[in-house]
Subunit: 219 residues, 2 copies
């Protein structure tokens, strides 16, 4: 297909397609004349991936380049491609914690990772996010959350099994990476929303019907 | 205690404490002279709650007022207080979906809520978030995510049981609401981070060791 049709098919404006070509996010079409090239379904799939990475995933153009390069180098295992993709995703921001809170948090994260044999190392963005979040909880005076961390990790592991088996069944690396990004980012929001709905359900059961527990001195 | 001590104890600057007093987020102290008032531990707890709602929860000042008013009216059940709090939390933003995608999403959300008997109604912010997220997935061509929604809801329900039982054991409404907000907001980020760590673990098992599945025509 020509550029105009590629644009129509993918829903990406011609100027944007040209920008992706210049930036190397999209591989060149097959030249048919000095001013024209032919594109195929591979280009449509790649455009869909690039849009998902940029718009849904919030990756920077340079992070998208890394993902595309990993997909295009034939000896890169899919695990590495997914790792490069995940690395490009923005992670949770944290602040507010002093050195003591950081040390407390790091000890807990180290213990969790060791117990589960999760392949995350000190200094990796995910490990640092988790340390930062726990340190924030400690700085806020909520050390008791450390006790629910294992429940969260159990639930996360269950969901991750579902997620990765789902993307592993897809037919090509573009689809795998695209679905992984969309599933990660929209999945975070889905899970957060469902958790709040479930909170409302459990709260109605525990506190509903006018039952007012633990309000001895309020008002 | 005097204002200066309240500020020290709570870590909130005097000017900010005065602002909260003017806005009605903090109840007045006991007047001891025309220019002085005495504050107690209840003020320290309330300040901690207000900071958590504003800084961690991202609630607006007017949403914080609603939460505080609900806590302070003695006949408001805790379930309602938590509902008011949750209502004030920012929800997931979504876009991109046309009417057809919205209708498809709403049918799936209705079925989910009916099956689980979750107390969420059409038009509630959480229901609309969920509809928006599913509609976004459909607009992106990922209708297959509808099939994993039940797994996510199961995991969300498990976590919510842990969460709500945890806050139900707390000694006063300030602590309950504060912990619920921190647990909801930091909990979202914790869960998202743990899920990505678990993704890396499952991906290493499924795709690791150089096994390159589903890459027949890549490169």
């Amino acid at each position: 297909m020509r550029m105009a049709e590629l644009s129509r098919e993918s829903g990406v404006p011609v100027a944007t397609v040209k920008y992706y070509l210049r930036e190397g996010l999209l591989h060149p079409g097959e030249r048919t004349s000095p001013n024209q090239a032919r594109y195929d379904e591979g280009h449509v799939r790649r455009l869909r991936l690039v849009r998902a990475l940029l718009d849904v995933g919030g990756l920077s153009v340079s992070a998208v380049k890394d993902v595309v390069a990993a997909i295009d180098s034939p000896d890169t295992p899919m695990h590495t491609v997914l790792g490069v993709t995940q690395h490009g995703l923005p992670s949770a921001r944290t602040a507010m914690a002093d050195e003591q809170a950081q040390a407390w948090a790091r000890a807990r994260v180290d213990a969790l990772l060791k117990e589960r044999a999760w392949p995350c190392t000190d200094g990796s963005p995910l490990t640092e996010s988790l340390v930062g979040l726990l340190a924030t909880l400690r700085a806020l005076g909520h050390t008791e959350f450390a006790s629910v961390l294992d429940h969260y990790a159990d639930a996360a592991q269950q969901i991750a099994e579902t997620d990765v088996r789902h993307v592993a069944a897809l037919p090509d690396p573009e689809a795998t990476v695209e679905t992984a990004v969309i599933g990660t980012v929209i999945g975070d929001a889905l899970l957060a929303t469902l958790r709040r709905m479930a909170h409302a359900d459990v709260s109605a059961r525990l506190f509903g019907g006018g039952k007012e527990i633990n309000r001895p001195e309020s008002g």
